[in-house]
Amino acid sequence: MNKKPRAKSGRGILWVVALFMGLCTLGLALSVVWINIERMDLAYELKQLQTELERKTDLQAKLEVERMNLLSSARLRSLAEEAGLRQAGPGQIRSMSH
């Protein structure tokens, strides 16, 4: 008399476990898909940032070259001459340390 209900409840648990496992598998599968999509999105984003970084680094390098060119001794000298400045001779230089 007691065996039948026990078998029934055993099968029920089995079904519940199987359902749970199925849901878990589905959940994991969906997670993998979601993670892969996220990974692709991140890769796109990273690529964009990388391109932007390269562009800015390149611009910085060009600006540095331009700055050095503008600050070159030859250019500063010609600007000084245009402004009427001349090289200080001996006795014309004062060191202001204060």
Binding site: A61, N69, A74, P90, G91
Partner: protein, 651 residues
Amino acid sequence: MSRKYIKNTPGRDWVRLRMGLLWALMVLLWLGLWGRAYQVQVLQGPELTSMALRQHRAAEFERGARGQILDRQGRILAKSTSIQSVYVRPLEIENLDAAATTLAAALDLPAARIRADLGKTRNFVWLARQISDRNARKVLDAGLRGVYLTEESARFYPHGHLAGQLLGFVGLDGDGLEGIERSFDEVLAGKKATFVAQRDASGRRMYLDAQGREEDLCGANVTLTLDSQVQFFAEEALARTVASFQGKSGQALVVDVHSNDILALANYPFFNPNMPRTDPEQWRNRVSMDALEPGSTLKPLLMAAALEEGVCTRDSQYFCEQGLWRITGVSIKDTKPHGWLPVHKVLRYSSNICSAKIGMDLGASRYHAYLHKLGFGQRTGLNMPGENPGLLRPPKSWHPVDLAAASFGQGISANALQMARAYLTLANNGVLKPLRIVRDPAGEEAPVTVLFRQEVAQAVMDMMREVVEEDGTGTRARIPGLSGAGKTGTAQKVTDAGTYGDRYVASFAGFYPATRPEYFIFVVVDEPHPQHYGGVVAAPAVREIGLRTLAYAGKLSEDAESVETAVMPSSQWHSATAAANRVDQEPAGEDQEGIPSLIGLSLRRAVERLRSAGVMPSVQGRGGVVSRQEPEAGVPWPDQDRNVTLWLEPT
């Protein structure tokens, strides 16, 4: 009852049948699916996987940026940046004439040349390499079919020709071809690496993992000992000197005496590494590649060797044969006739005859040994491409006349770096140290050798001080306010026939200050004319470089009074310093009105007003406003000794 009921419902069998068929179909479908999965995953798996990889992945080649070349202050001397280049696929061009016109305007190139390139039947033609960003934008805006832009790396030298021959240049592919770019190519060059990138449907590439890309592929920087400001001073003075004496070429070297760091290494004519496709003679680094006969600049080294060996003392007397001496049928002449001279005056007046006699007393083998130990006939180890080791023949092959000639710097040859290293031995109390041109990466620590006793080195330095500060041959190298030391050189050049002709090399090697020297400056001018004496041609250039370098380093005397008293009453000296002192000599606008009232003015304004009268004031106290002045306002300017003292008070 139940069985009867079932029998009486004939539709149930059909349902079962349908269910059975459905199950069978499902099973078949599942079997089919699993079968196909097995086929795709197991049987064809490896082949399909490799096909997918080929489609989704692409190999990407990366090369790191080339390192920078910096001067000792961190100023950029060479740097790589990316730059656009234009190429065309002629077969894709639609309207050839219109495209040629548009591109010619965008690239500032002749339309005929563009048209010729577009008319080629190849699939790929470079139209213009390394164009400016502005031109690249114009090409992009034109939106022509078959015209493409691609990014390349280009090397820029922001100071133009400054140290051009030393820096060298790189090829279009970024490899160092000359100068430091070549000798330090392994350090500067960016590393190469290939990575596998993921490719999407539209061909965009991305990385799904790092693949070791976090590693820095950029080349390392190279920091030179050069100071671009001192280099500029040296180049300017050298260019002016070579041009005014119509020389063929010139070299200048400035070295820090304490560290043996080369602060400037200049060649003239200049070479701009931004435009390397010029005459190869222009990118020749003469400082290391040209070995010239040093002439009288070698005499201090002879003196040091003779003093060290005890052959003579500073005051030993030698007879200078009144300017003409014949030895084994060869005449040796002095510029001016002299009788008996002590050794220090032999150097001061640069007597060839007495130098030859000292050399003969020293002997060929001993003199040769010193020259060899000083580094003549050997490369300096500075890692400069194509360095000329010069010529120092073995003493066995020296005849008496060869020894006599070598005593005043003829018959042997040396490059400017060898001369600098030898001279610095005297300034460093007889210790021979290697020169240095690269600070980072630091090279191996080279051993130092003691060649001369300290008193010998100081005695020779004092003799060289007499050359400049007394009535020697180098008076045009004097700087007011501090003493200098040096030696002139005027070497005859050998003609094609192997005899000495009428072409000369003028040089001057100088130290500032003479006592405890800070800087060694060496200037060489090849074939100057009509003047060819080192004291006339090269000494003023050394003076100019020294003056500006000392001013730049804040080591010039501030005391105008001591400057005036230091000036020797020599007509040559006045003509040499006239240009530098022209500010002082200009007539002042306020001269007629006497000393102006400066009380209440800011220090800056007061200094400006006094400057217009050619006066630099002495300043007392702290602050920004003048509270008192001496002499008082309105007092007429004295003809000499215009001294004004200002007392300051806080604003």
